[in-house]
Symmetry: none
Subunit: 198 residues, 4 copies
């Protein structure tokens, strides 16, 4: 029956995700994953031809998850370009989506820099998000509520802020209430973008 197979595969993936996130890709051996998942190496290599392959599979899943979440979040912002705060709120979504998987994110970047296929998988969605933000901004400009800045640059700026906060939240979790900091930061930036209405 195929149910069993699917379960095994899922188990392996979830374990692998967690271990990659906790110990990193290189430090996690296939044997580790198998032991933790309670399967044999035979089972592992039945489902994934290579250690790299499970990483890519994980990555794919993770990106599509993120995609869904962000798309949903931006629905609201999309329709209310004047309420820039909603954009600020959206960034919280980005952080949430990455919650507890930051190390995996790092690993992913590191791998991306070395393996073209991974890079491909990484760069596309990144540009996608940047574009989404740029679109929102552009609409705001057209509507006359945002300064006439370069929308692309603004998009990149928003992404940069989100990424930077993500990173800080990761390597200094106790340093601040990152949740609130995210909102505040984004507000500061938004304030710089909105048209001064006297």
């Amino acid at each position: 029956m195929q149910k069993r197979s699917e379960e095994t595969r899922a188990k392996i993936m979830s374990v692998a995700l967690e271990m990659f996130a906790r110990q990193g890709y290189d430090a996690t051996s296939v044997a580790d994953i198998c032991r933790e998942a309670g399967v044999s190496k035979g089972a592992f290599y039945h489902h994934f031809p290579t250690k790299q392959d499970i990483f890519l599979a994980l990555l794919r899943g993770w990106l599509s998850d993120l995609d869904a979440q962000l798309d949903a979040l931006l629905q609201g912002a999309d329709s209310v370009p004047k309420g820039l705060v909603s954009v600020a709120g959206a960034t919280r979504g980005v952080l949430k989506a990455a919650e507890g998987r930051q190390l995996f994110l790092m690993e992913f970047w590191v791998q991306a820099s070395r393996h073209p296929e991974v890079w491909e998988a990484a760069i596309a969605p990144y540009r996608h998000y940047q574009q989404m933000f740029a679109n929102v901004i552009q609409r705001g400009i057209d509507a006359g509520v945002i300064q006439p800045v370069d929308a692309d640059t603004a998009g990149r700026t928003i992404v940069a802020l989100a990424l930077g906060l993500l990173l800080q939240a990761w390597f200094d979790p106790e340093g601040a209430a990152w949740d609130k900091t995210a909102v505040q930061s984004m507000l500061m930036l938004m304030r710089g973008l909105e048209k001064k209405t006297l």
Copy 2:
């Protein structure tokens, strides 16, 4: 004479830095480093007790470099809190300082998340910079040229922006003129911080 010894050590370090940056920490073997540096493994272990140790040594050097560069840059901003643009310019310095060593930076973060000693070495300077920016902001607030925001949060925001730009510049170098983008981004943020003089 110790000259020879010093040279060997330096050679090893420079090779190691480059290889870590290009291939990553785990993917770079001690043997690789030795071959490239033209020394024996014995020589390597004569100078560094452990592979980790050379990494830390490298890290220390790198951080102190960065420190010096940033301190110099912030001298100006420090004394001219009203010219917030100078702060924007300073972020360019951060990018410059990391030029071509981003992968090493990533490795460093990854390692930091796992080894307390590394984390220690990483978190301290990070907080240092954040504090510097916060100070500049605070002075601006006191002088009445900046909105009465929370200075710490503003500091974190600036650092976040810098980090985020660094990251983007790294994994999508062709995506934009990051140099200029950095300045523009910072200006947008600054605009949100400054007091509306109207």
Copy 3:
């Protein structure tokens, strides 16, 4: 219906034979065979209890083929002991029979040296042929056309010559026209065996 089954079995065997011959027994995995034959591993193990077993099955078939061919060839020689050249011609048959399967032959010997069952299967026919040649020689001696040598030794000598040529032809195919060399060689030997009629 069993037709399907028989076909599958035959397909597996033919693929296995070719792969063993080309890559050797150890270097050919069951998975390789299955992939090439277009069947699942389950199917393989349904037909053959073990990898060794398919080898033995193949071997058995191969030997009985060889047997048939040689027996046919020696019919002639048997009845014309004075025409020693026909014996020479027979050796060509040996070479022909092994055409393109030398590596399998080698594998077979190697396996034989380690597994008694295989050895059993190998040594019997070998002695059979040697005996056939010895018989022909003995008849020649009785008929007075061949020197009074030890017939067994002569038989072994003929077999040796055939084997040696086979081997050379295998690992240095371009080295000579082995076809003709075989005949010439055998003639030289025959000349040493025949009674000097002068």
Copy 4:
């Protein structure tokens, strides 16, 4: 000191030779060799980059041994082309030289058929011997003691006989007194080559 190193290397080689000969190349794992030799895997790979490499090293040594032995043996035959029996005796040398290493010889051929480098190492000496025998024969022809046959073919025939006997002696050791059989066989052939002095 380098003495230790040399000893370790020699120990590894001798153990490997024996195990390859007894169990075959594929069936002998590096771990087996190490255990038997009482060294660590690290030591093994310090001396030999690859499992294949130790095989080649062994092969090289074996061939040069054989070379030396045969050269010495053919010295006599060389100078006494009329005493063809000495050539017959020489073949005994070939058998002696291979004593107890036949399986290694087989392995070697099997490997040769798959790895060009091995084949290279194998084919050269083989042609060398064939040539030596051919030379002896040619001299005999020139001296008028041997039939005007094609010397090359005769050389190949002698080699074939030697190989064939070697093989039979290996897979049916009890079948005959191969020592004496070798001499008898060679005499039969020689008889066919020599000029009928009548």
